[in-house]
C-alpha cells in the first residue's frame, strides 16, 4: 500500500492496479466464504477496510489466487483488462450457477497525459477504501437474496483481456460463459481515479 502512494498522495497506474488487485483478493475470498463454496472451518478472519473478512486457509486456493492476481496486476497496469469474472460452477455437471463480474474502466485521472503510465490520480486513499468497504458490505449482504447453492461447487477466475494480449505459460483461452435464465444485480462501484470498478453478480434464477 505504501508503494501505491508515491509522492504527495499521488496514485500511479501501478498503484491503482495494486489497490484493485487487493480488493479482488478480499472480494473473492469473501464470496468463497459467503456462498459456502468451501467449508467455513477452512477460513480465518482478518481485518481489512474496517471490516472482518474471512480468508481461506487452503494453500491450493491461496496459491491459485496469488498466481492469477499477480498476472492481473501486470495486465491492469497496462490497461489491458476489460473484465474479470469469478465463475461458480457445479463441480459434477459443470453448470454455471453464478458469475461475479468485476468490470474495469480506465479513467483519465488528473492530468490527461498521452502516456497512460504517466497518469496520476490524487484521489484520497481513505475515500477509496471507504468506497471499497461499501462494496464489500454489499457483497456480504447478497447472501440474503442469492439462491442457495445446495450442491458441491467450485470456482474459476476468468479475465477478459484485449485481443492482442500474449498469453504467458500455463494460461489458456476459454470461451465466454453463459448462465441460463440469468438475473443480474449491480452493486456499488468504486474508482481509484485511474480505474473504475463495477461489481455485478449474475445468478441463475431458481425455477
Amino acid at each position: 500500500m505504501s508503494s501505491a502512494q508515491a509522492t504527495k498522495n499521488c496514485i500511479t497506474l501501478k498503484g491503482s492496479a495494486q489497490i484493485i488487485v487487493e480488493y479482488l483478493k478480499y472480494g473473492i475470498h469473501s464470496i468463497l466464504f459467503q456462498r459456502g463454496i468451501y467449508p467455513a472451518e477452512n477460513f480465518d478472519s482478518t481485518q481489512q477496510y474496517g471490516l472482518t473478512i474471512l480468508m481461506s486457509k487452503d494453500p491450493k486456493i491461496t496459491t491459485f489466487l496469488q498466481n492469477v492476481l499477480s498476472q492481473t496486476e501486470e495486465w491492469l497496469s497496462k490497461n489491458m483488462i476489460n473484465k474479470i469474472s469469478m465463475v461458480i460452477t457445479n463441480a459434477h455437471s459443470k453448470e454455471v450457477l453464478e458469475c461475479w463480474d468485476f468490470k474495469m474502466q480506465a479513467e483519465n485521472g488528473d492530468n490527461q497525459a498521452a502516456d497512460p503510465s504517466q497518469r496520476t490520480s490524487s484521489k484520497d486513499q481513505t475515500r477509496i477504501q471507504n468506497e471499497i468497504r461499501d462494496v464489500m458490505r454489499q457483497i456480504s449482504a447478497t447472501v440474503s437474496y442469492l439462491p442457495l447453492l445446495d450442491c458441491i461447487c467450485t470456482f474459476d477466475v476468468m479475465i477478459h483481456t484485449l485481443d492482442n494480449t500474449e498469453l504467458p505459460a500455463k494460461w489458456d483461452e476459454t470461451g465466454a460463459i453463459v448462465i441460463q435464465n440469468a438475473q443480474a444485480v449491480q452493486l456499488r462501484s468504486f474508482s481509484t481515479g485511474l480505474h473504475k470498478v463495477e461489481t455485478v453478480v449474475n445468478y441463475k434464477m431458481s425455477t
Binding site: N82, V87, A91, V157, M158, L167
Partner: protein
C-alpha cells in the same frame, strides 16, 4: 529468330541485288531508248531535222562528195535513203513499241515481286512473333522444369528423411519388440515360477486337506463316541430327574406329614385350652353376666355421651351461625349507615332538582328525570332535524356556489366582452376625435384659404409683399405641424390597433380545440416518457448482462484452476466408484456362485443351516405366538377362576384377603367391618411364618389379640371369633 530475320533480309537483299543486276541492262536499255526517243520522238520535228542536219551535212558532205561523183545517182540515192530512213523509222517505232511492252512487262513483274516481298515480310513478321512466343513458352517450360526438378529433389530429400525416420522407428520398434519379448520371457518365467509355487502350495494344501480329513474322521469317531456317551449321560440324567422327582414327592409328603404333626400339636393345644375354658365356664358365665350388665351400662353411658356430643355439636353450629349473623348484622349496620348517607345525598339532589314547594319523593324525582329525558329526546330529535336541515342547506349552498361559479364565469365572459366593447368604443371615440380634428384642421385650412383670399383681395394694399409672404409661411407651418400631429396620432392608432389585434384572445372554439390537442399531447408525452424509462431499464439490464455485443476481447484463465481440479477429482472419484461397483458386483457374483455350489455340495453347511435356521426361526415364532395366545387364554381363565374362588372364599369365610406390595404382605378385611379402613396387615416371612403387623384397627382390638392370638398362636380361631363378634355387633345395630 534474329538469324532467321537476318537470313531473310539477306535473301531480300540478294533478290534486290538480282533486280539491280538486271537494272543496268534496263538502264542501258532505257538510256538507249531515251537516247533513241531523244533522237527520234521527243524532239520536235524541226530540231530533229536540224539534228539530222549533221547527218545531212554528212550526207551532204557525202552527197557533195557523191555529187561530185554523180548527181543523177544522188536523187535516187536520196530516195533510197529516204525509204531506208522511213523503214528505219518504222523499225524504230516497232522497236519502241516492243520496248514499251517490255517495260510494262517489267513493271508488272516488279510490282508482283514487290507484293511477293511484302507478303514474305508479313509472313516473316508473323513467324518471328510466333518464334518469340515459342521462345517465351520454352523459357516458362524451362522454369517449370527447374521448379519440378527442385521439388523432386526436395521430395527425394524428404523421402530420405522419412526413410531414415522410419528406419529409426523400425529399429526402435524392433528394440521394443525384443525388449517386450524379453519381458514376456521374464514374465513367463515368473509365471512359471509362481505356478510352481502355487502347485507346491496346492500340493501342500492337498496334504493338509487330507490330514484335516483324517482329523475330521477322527473327530467324527470321537463325536460318535461322545454321542454314545451323551445318550448314556442323558439316560443317567433322566434317572436322576426321576429320582429327584420322587425325592420331591417324598419331601412334599414329609412336609404334609410335618404339617399334620404340627396341626396335631395345635389341636392338642387347642383342646387343652378349650378344656381349660370349659372348666372356667361357670366363672365366665357369671363374669359374662357382670360384663353384660357392665356393657349395658357402658352402652347407656355411651348413648348419653353421644347425645351430649350431638347437643354440643348443635350448640356449636348454632354459635357459629350466631357469630356469622352478628358479623352480618354489623356489616348490615355499616351498609345501612352508608345507604342512609347516600339516601340523604339523593334527597338533597332531589331537593335541588325538584320544585321548591313540592314534597321531595322518588316519584317526583322520577317524573323530573322523565321530564328531562323527554326534553333530551326532543333536543336530540331537534338536533337531528337541524343537522338534516344544515345538510340540506349545505347542499343548497353547494348548488348555489356552483351556480355562482357559473355566473361568475358568465360575468367574466361578459366583462371580457364588455372590455372588448369598451376598447372598441375607445377606438371609435379616438377615431371620432381624429376625424373631428381632421375636420377642424380642414376647417382651419378653409379659413386660411378664405383669409388668403380676403387678404389677397382686401389687405393687399395695407401689407407689404414680404409681410404677406411671412404670414402665409407661418400659416402653412402651422398647418404642417397639424398634419404632422395627425400623422403621429394615426400612426399611434395603427400601432394600438395592431397590438389589440395581437392581444385579442382567440375564440372559444379554437381554445377548446387547442386544449384538447394539448391534453392529447400531454398524454402522449407521459406515455412516451414511461416507455423511455422502461427502455432505459431494459438497456441497463442488458448492459449488466453483457447482451450488447461486447468489445473485442478474449477470455483467458489459468490452466490449473480449482474448477478444473474439482472436475478432474469428481471424474476420478466417479471412475473409482464405478470400478468399486464393478469389483463388488464381481465379488457378489462370486459369492453367489460359491453359495450355490456349496448348497449343491452339502446341505448341512452353515449357509444351508442358515436357511434351515430361518425355517426353524419361523416355526419357533409361530409356536411362540400360539403359546402366547394359549397363555393369554389360560390367564383369562385363571383370572376368572381366581375371582370366583376369592368371591366364594369371601362369602364362605367372611374375609377378603388382598395381596399388597411386591413382598408377601396380605391385607385381611372382614365382611362385617364397620369401615373400609378396618383391616389387618399380615406378612409371610421367608420361613413360611405368618406375622400380624400393626394397623390402626389392630390397635383397637388389642385385648382380643392378646387373648387369642398370643395364647393360641393361631389365626383361624382369632378370625372366626372376630367374625362372630362383628356379626353380633352388626346384628345388634341392625336390630
Amino acid at each position: 529468330m534474329d538469324d532467321i530475320r537476318s537470313s531473310l533480309d539477306n535473301m531480300v537483299d540478294h533478290f534486290n541485288d538480282s533486280i539491280t543486276h538486271s537494272a543496268p541492262k534496263k538502264l542501258l536499255f532505257n538510256r538507249l531508248s531515251i537516247s533513241l526517243s531523244d533522237d527520234s520522238a521527243s524532239l520536235p520535228k524541226k530540231r530533229r531535222v536540224e539534228q539530222e542536219s549533221p547527218n545531212c551535212s554528212l550526207n551532204s558532205t557525202t552527197d557533195s562528195t557523191n555529187n561530185s561523183a554523180s548527181d543523177s545517182n544522188g536523187t535516187w540515192k536520196m530516195n533510197k535513203l529516204r525509204a531506208e530512213l522511213i523503214e528505219t523509222k518504222a523499225r524504230l517505232s516497232q522497236v519502241q513499241d516492243q520496248l514499251k511492252q517490255n517495260e510494262t512487262k517489267r513493271r508488272m513483274e516488279l510490282s508482283l515481286a514487290e507484293s511477293k516481298v511484302s507478303a514474305l515480310k508479313t509472313q516473316c513478321d508473323f513467324t518471328s512473333q510466333k518464334l518469340l512466343d515459342l521462345t517465351k513458352d520454352m523459357e516458362n517450360r524451362r522454369g517449370l522444369e527447374n521448379s519440378y526438378k527442385e521439388e523432386a529433389r526436395r521430395a527425394k530429400a524428404e523421402l530420405a528423411g522419412l526413410k531414415l525416420k522410419y528406419d529409426e522407428t523400425v529399429n526402435k520398434l524392433k528394440n521394443e519388440k525384443s525388449q517386450q519379448e524379453q519381458d514376456a520371457r521374464d514374465v513367463q518365467l515368473c509365471i512359471n515360477n509362481e505356478l510352481g509355487d502355487y502347485r507346491r502350495q496346492a500340493q501342500r494344501a492337498e496334504l493338509e486337506l487330507q490330514s484335516t480329513l483324517k482329523e475330521l474322521e477322527c473327530i467324527r469317531q470321537r463325536h460318535d463316541e461322545y454321542k454314545a456317551r451323551m445318550s448314556g449321560y442323558e439316560e443317567l440324567r433322566a434317572n436322576f430327574e426321576k429320582q429327584q422327582q420322587s425325592l420331591k414327592v417324598a419331601d412334599e409328603r414329609i412336609k404334609e406329614l410335618e404339617f399334620e404333626i404340627q396341626s396335631y400339636t395345635d389341636w392338642k393345644q387347642v383342646t387343652k385350652v378349650s378344656q381349660e375354658r370349659l372348666a372356667s365356664i361357670p366363672e365366665m358365665d357369671s363374669e359374662l353376666q357382670r360384663l353384660r350388665v357392665h356393657n349395658k351400662q357402658l352402652n347407656k353411658i355411651i348413648g348419653d355421651k353421644l347425645l351430649l356430643e350431638e347437643q354440643v355439636h348443635e350448640y356449636k353450629a348454632r354459635l357459629d351461625k350466631e357469630e356469622g349473623s352478628r358479623a352480618e348484622a354489623a356489616a348490615l349496620q355499616v351498609k345501612l349507615s352508608h345507604t342512609e348517607r347516600e339516601l340523604k345525598e339523593w334527597v338533597k339532589v332531589a331537593q335541588d332538582h325538584c320544585l321548591a314547594n313540592t314534597l321531595v319523593s322518588p316519584v317526583t324525582l322520577r317524573s323530573r328525570i322523565e321530564q328531562l329525558l323527554q326534553g333530551d329526546i326532543v333536543h336530540v330529535s331537534e338536533k337531528y332535524a337541524s343537522e338534516s336541515e344544515s345538510k340540506q342547506m349545505r347542499n343548497l349552498v353547494r348548488d348555489l356556489e356552483q351556480k355562482i361559479r357559473v355566473y361568475l364565469k358568465n360575468i367574466e365572459d361578459l366583462n371580457m366582452s364588455l372590455k372588448r366593447h369598451k376598447n372598441f368604443k375607445d377606438r371609435l371615440q379616438r377615431k371620432l376625435r381624429t376625424v373631428s380634428r381632421e375636420r377642424d384642421f380642414y376647417k382651419q385650412m378653409v379659413d386660411n384659404f378664405d383669409k388668403d383670399l380676403t387678404m389677397s383681395n382686401a389687405s393687399v394694399a395695407e401689407m407689404t409683399q414680404d409681410m404677406q409672404v411671412r404670414y402665409r409661411v407661418d400659416v402653412l407651418e402651422r398647418t404642417l405641424t397639424g398634419y404632422k400631429d395627425l400623422c403621429t396620432t394615426l400612426d399611434r392608432e395603427i400601432q394600438a390597433m395592431r397590438e389589440q389585434e395581437q392581444l385579442s384572445d382567440p375564440s372559444s372554439e379554437d381554445y377548446e380545440n387547442v386544449k384538447k390537442e394539448l391534453d392529447t399531447l400531454r398524454l402522449e408525452n407521459d406515455r412516451l416518457r414511461r416507455r423511455k424509462e422502461e427502455q432505459e431499464l431494459e438497456i441497463m439490464q442488458r448492459c449488466l448482462r453483457q447482451d450488447i455485443s461486447p468489445p473485442i476481447s478474449k477470455v483467458v484463465h489459468l490452466v490449473d484452476n480449482p474448477a478444473a481440479e474439482a472436475y478432474e477429482s469428481s471424474k476420478n472419484m466417479l471412475e473409482k466408484l464405478q470400478a468399486e461397483i464393478e469389483r463388488l458386483k464381481r465379488h457378489n457374483k462370486k459369492l453367489e456362485d460359491a453359495n450355490e455350489q456349496h448348497l449343491n455340495e452339502t446341505t448341512s453347511t452353515s449357509t444351508g443351516g442358515m436357511t434351515m435356521n430361518f425355517k426353524e426361526l419361523n416355526k419357533l415364532r409361530a409356536e411362540l405366538e400360539s403359546a402366547n395366545a394359549k397363555l393369554g387364554k389360560t390367564k383369562e381363565y385363571f383370572m376368572a377362576a381366581r375371582k370366583e374362588f376369592r368371591d366364594v372364599v369371601y362369602m364362605l369365610l367372611g374375609y377378603r384377603i388382598d395381596r399388597v406390595g411386591y413382598k408377601s404382605n396380605y391385607r385381611v378385611t372382614s365382611m362385617y367391618a364397620e369401615s373400609p379402613d378396618d383391616y389387618f396387615s399380615i406378612a409371610l416371612s421367608e420361613s413360611n411364618d405368618l406375622a400380624l403387623l400393626e394397623t390402626p384397627y389392630s390397635e383397637t382390638l388389642q385385648p382380643a389379640l392378646d387373648q387369642q392370638l398370643a395364647a393360641n398362636n393361631s389365626f383361624p380361631p382369632f378370625f372366626s371369633s372376630l367374625t362372630l363378634d362383628l356379626f353380633q355387633r352388626a346384628t345388634v345395630t341392625m336390630t
